[in-house]
């Protein structure tokens, strides 16, 4: 469990987060949900250290190695998949001209593991949205990060690619390689892949719940301000908007 306690954030005179408390489960998929403008990306930016809060009494991420993948990113041109992923090896050392043998092996391992080996020499411009996202996850893994912050990692993808990416993230958390903190919009996808849920309301109140606690009529109404119909077929829970 990674805890964050007594978090305050103001923009000018406007109080955005007031005495917020939240916790993340390690080696699980933590899903952040909420309407537009609630502060999903803002909380992600605070957790990754991009945005400094005004006050925080406990910040459990301080000793963790993190990787933040924003929603929209641009790709350098004229690189193949292998070259793109290998960019991360030039991260730490000031002077480095060549990859070590060990780094080359790790690169090969990750490419095989994420199922990119058949396209490793293809140029980045030719990849699908799902394949592009896999290369970014590969970069995160090679950076040695333990906690992955992913801002809508499956936006602009068709259903099959969404599932492929989320399956992969799920597998990585189950193998205890990473802790994932993911912003998602699709409640049903969130329900099937998420382990632990952080709901943010329009008033910037934060609720941290397990799956059972989160997918209730009251909780969802609290967060989104509209009524939902929840069906439980014994195997899993389905969410629909109640008109």
């Amino acid at each position: 469990m990674i805890d964050i306690k007594n978090l305050y954030l103001t923009f000018g005179d406007n109080i955005f987060f007031e005495d917020v408390e939240l916790s993340l489960r390690e080696h699980k998929i933590n899903v952040i949900l909420g309407p537009n403008g609630a502060g999903k990306t803002t909380i992600l930016k605070i957790l990754t250290g991009i945005l400094k809060p005004d006050k925080v009494s406990e910040f459990g991420l301080i000793s963790k190695k993190i990787f933040y993948l924003p929603q929209k990113i641009s790709y350098p041109k004229g690189l193949d998949v292998e070259e793109y992923i290998s960019s991360v090896f030039f991260k730490d050392s000031m002077v480095k001209w060549f990859l070590t043998k060990e780094e080359k092996n790790r690169l090969d391992d990750i490419i095989n593991k994420l199922g990119l080996s058949h396209i490793k020499n293809l140029s980045m411009e030719k990849l699908s949205a799902g394949e592009l996202q896999k290369t970014n996850i590969a970069i995160g893994l090679l950076s040695g990060a333990e906690v992955f912050f992913l801002d809508e990692p499956t936006s602009n993808m068709d259903l099959i690619n969404q599932i492929k990416i989320l399956d992969m993230i799920k597998k990585l958390t189950e193998q205890k390689e990473i802790t994932a903190v993911v912003i998602l919009h699709d409640l049903n996808l969130a329900e099937s892949y998420g382990d632990y849920f952080i709901g943010i309301t329009k008033e910037h109140k934060i609720f941290c719940k397990s799956k059972e606690g989160f997918f209730t009529k009251d909780m969802l109404k609290n967060i989104y301000g509209i009524n939902f119909r929840i069906t439980d077929d014994g195997e899993r829970v389905y969410v629909r908007v109640d008109k």
Partner: protein, 327 residues
Amino acid sequence: MRKNKIFSIVILLFLFLGCFYLSVFAGHDGFGVDLFLKSFQLNDRSEDAVILELIRYPRAIKAIVAGVCLALAGLFLQTVSKNPLAEPYITGISSGAGLGIVLSVLFFNSANYSFFGFLGAMVSSLLVISFAGFRKFSITKLILVGLSINIFVSALISMIILMNSEKSYSMLYILSGNLTENNLVSDKHLLLIFFVILLFSAFLIPKLNFLRLDEGMVFSSVKHKNMYSIFFIICSALLTSLSVLAAGILGFIGIIAPLISKMIVGQDFRYLFFVNIFLGASLILFADFLSRTLIYPMQIPLGLVVAFIGAPVFVFFLTKKGDILND
């Protein structure tokens, strides 16, 4: 893929050697093969040997220094700013150098003007970088501050030229860019500074392989990405100022050399480094050859020749492989 890239570097190396040959040995009377062969004789005190030693070699060295510096500076700035239009003079250097040159013509009758250009370049780039701010640094701010200073100082330069009509011809001629003589900094010192900065850049360049990743990605061990950016910008300001010292103000090379190199070899900066410096040097050496021979015995200002050959070459590459620059 890797073999192709090494092959590109070798081709560019030969292009560079070819242009060096043209710049040093060829003249209006031919391609100078006999001159080339004679240059291997020791203790040759003939007129030809003196021309080579006193005029041609120093010119070629300055062309190489200017070409390499501008190409590298452009590569740094384009990568750090992720903007293909970024050029070495963005940081206010061209106008600063121009002001230095114009003032030196005005007060010292154009003696050592490139040294004053160098001083002006250093001062203006330092000014722009510090206005852009070290703590809350942003590349957009840098570009806009640089633009403003460029416009302000350019107006100042125009004023000075207009108000001193008797010297305006020599001012305009010098501002067009030339491989020049100056007595304050000898060629040896120029080369020494050049090699130090080049070596430094060679060590740093693979870091750009990391900086090519989207800047929105955050890794916990990299807290000061801005630091690297500022570092590369200061480095490119130094390189550009050095190019002013060698050749005055030469526009365009700093934009096209890195872009053409990217189209040739892609974005692995370890390969790009070599392709880029060979290409930058080749372009200026070849332009120098043309500027001396095209309408002999007149010399066309080097900066103009660079524009004349640079623009068509660049457009040619754009139509062939311009896709690589699209977003």
